[in-house]
């Protein structure tokens, strides 16, 4: 489909003369993040992530009986992950059949989370992780990891800690944190990173574009710093659910005492 004014032969102005990005952020600034835990009724664990225009729902089922049975392992749970985009999540409707990109992202998201899950506690079972992108913006795999690790925790699956994720990229020659859609599209590099802060372990690392070694090192540092911030937000979101439950119970108890 041909849109008027688009496609542009020249990329739009992504960083202005004062160093601000098209959405008004500084180069080292994250987009606003909203995290919610326990949003779905049927799933064993669930989480919702909004980051920029990303709107992502994550759900965990399991540990549950492996199906088909032959995929089960005798010494640990099998973790499966499906990253999937809704047909209306992008500008041009996407076929609901899984694309090669979605298959790859499913794999790298799973591998970013496997290191923290104590899968050997649940032999012969599966833990199924579903990441549904309802609306996509730049950095949906990282937002997916943020939500997926919250959903795992919400399902009560033992983990060493939460996994945080964030991308860094190069836009008009400058390193920029947490790329938006257009920065990813017109930028010169994209470096998504998942990080387990206390273990000091990078569990997802991909890169496309062009970076010098110095840029890579600096960019990685920016991404890890952002992951630490996000890790704090994840912990807050997880605690919030239980605070709310506690308050609800206390309120109920109080009203019963009065009655």
């Amino acid at each position: 489909m041909l849109w008027e004014k688009l496609p542009e032969s020249k990329p739009p102005e992504l960083i202005d003369s004062k160093g601000f990005r098209a959405d008004g952020r500084r180069l080292d600034q994250l987009r606003p993040i909203k995290l919610e835990v326990g949003i779905l009724d049927k799933a064993d664990g669930s989480a919702y992530v909004e980051q920029g225009k990303n709107k992502i729902m994550c759900a965990v089922y399991g540990p549950r009986e492996a199906h088909p049975k032959h995929i089960a392992l005798p010494d640990r749970a099998v973790i499966r992950c499906r990253y999937h985009m809704a047909p209306f999540s992008v500008d041009e409707r996407k076929s609901p059949a899984p694309s090669r990109r979605e298959m790859e992202l499913s794999k790298v998201i799973r591998e970013s989370l496997e290191p923290v899950v104590l899968a050997d506690l649940y032999p012969r079972t599966t833990i199924d992780l579903f990441v549904e992108v309802l609306q996509s913006d730049g950095g949906s795999r990282c937002a997916g990891i943020i939500g997926a690790s919250l959903a795992l925790a919400d399902a009560g699956i033992p983990m060493t800690e939460l996994v945080a994720a964030c991308a860094v990229g190069k836009v008009q020659g400058k390193l920029a944190l947490d790329l938006s859609d257009s920065e990813d599209k017109y930028g010169e590099a994209d470096l998504p990173v998942a990080f387990v802060p206390n273990a000091n372990l990078v569990t997802l690392l991909q890169m496309d574009g062009s970076l010098t070694t110095e840029e890579f090192e600096k960019g990685l540092g920016m991404a890890l710093e952002a992951c630490r911030t996000i890790h704090g937000l994840q912990r807050e979101a997880l605690k919030k659910k239980y605070h709310e439950m506690k308050e609800a119970v206390e309120e109920k108890e109080e009203s019963e005492v009065v009655a």
Binding site: K55, A86, P87, E132
Partner: protein, 252 residues
């Protein structure tokens, strides 16, 4: 299941669970509506794109309804191509919209026989606690009402989309009402627990004039003629209330 005229969740046999409708959540879609029907959650996104008409209807645009029972919605849903439940859901929603002539497909033509607007209605089930058909039909209607589309024009053999916020050409507002039979009792808006024990189910889609525009019976048993008449009567009543809720929430 039913004791003293009350259902397990405290409802009477003829009432719906609470309905919460939110619109415009997906900015990248032309229209979107999220419906919570009790604990069931369905999101519908409408996208309007350019395509070719079917050869036998060169002067009509295309309506496509697709449903995904995404696996996060229920332990019973598995990844993969749509199964029979998803296909039935999409087709029942489609039939209500199509047969009530809700969309004026003739005005979706850009160039006769060559280029038309294709309206994609994608039903995304997020949490399955029963009666997905009614939740999806309400969300689909809402998303169509909510949709804002640019202006499609031919310019030197190419379709150009001028930015704009025009509503889709809608003539009708179909709403479905599903009733399940549990024992000898008819239950409007069955929850998942009720669906598990129902012997049969009937969906009746009612248009804005109170006429029936689509029906679908499901389940292993059947209905008596008296039961069918009662269900249609219930559908006419309940659909009017639900239509008003959808239209109020989806506009804007």
């Amino acid at each position: 299941m039913i004791a003293g005229g009350k259902r397990m969740d405290g409802r009477g046999p003829e009432s719906y669970r609470p309905i919460v409708i939110q619109s415009g959540l997906i900015e990248k879609a032309n229209g979107s509506v999220h419906v919570s029907l009790g604990k069931s959650k369905v999101l519908v996104g409408v996208k309007v794109e350019v395509g070719e008409p079917f050869p036998d209807t060169p002067d009509e645009g295309v309506l496509t309804v697709n449903a995904e029972l995404v696996p996060l919605a229920s332990p019973m849903f598995e990844p993969g191509p749509p199964g029979e439940q998803a296909i039935e859901l999409a087709r029942v929603v489609d039939r209500g919209i199509r047969e009530s002539k809700a969309i004026d497909v003739k005005s979706l033509v850009i160039q006769r026989g060559k280029k038309v607007q294709v309206v994609y209605v994608d039903v995304y089930v997020l949490d399955h606690d029963g009666n997905l058909i009614d939740a999806a039909a309400m969300a689909a209607l809402g998303a169509l009402v909510n949709a804002k589309v640019g202006k499609f024009e031919m310019k030197a053999d190419e379709v150009v989309v001028k930015p704009g916020r025009h509503a889709l050409p809608l003539n009708n507002y179909p709403v479905s009402v599903t009733v399940a039979k549990v024992g000898k009792t008819l239950l409007v808006d069955p929850s998942l627990e009720e669906e598990r024990v129902m012997s049969a189910r009937l969906t009746v889609t009612i248009d804005k004039n109170g006429a029936i525009c689509a029906m679908q019976k499901g389940g292993l048993s059947g209905f008596t003629v008296e039961e069918l008449k009662r269900i249609v009567g219930l559908a006419v009543e309940r659909s009017a209330e639900n239509r008003a809720k959808v239209l109020a929430a989806a506009k804007g």
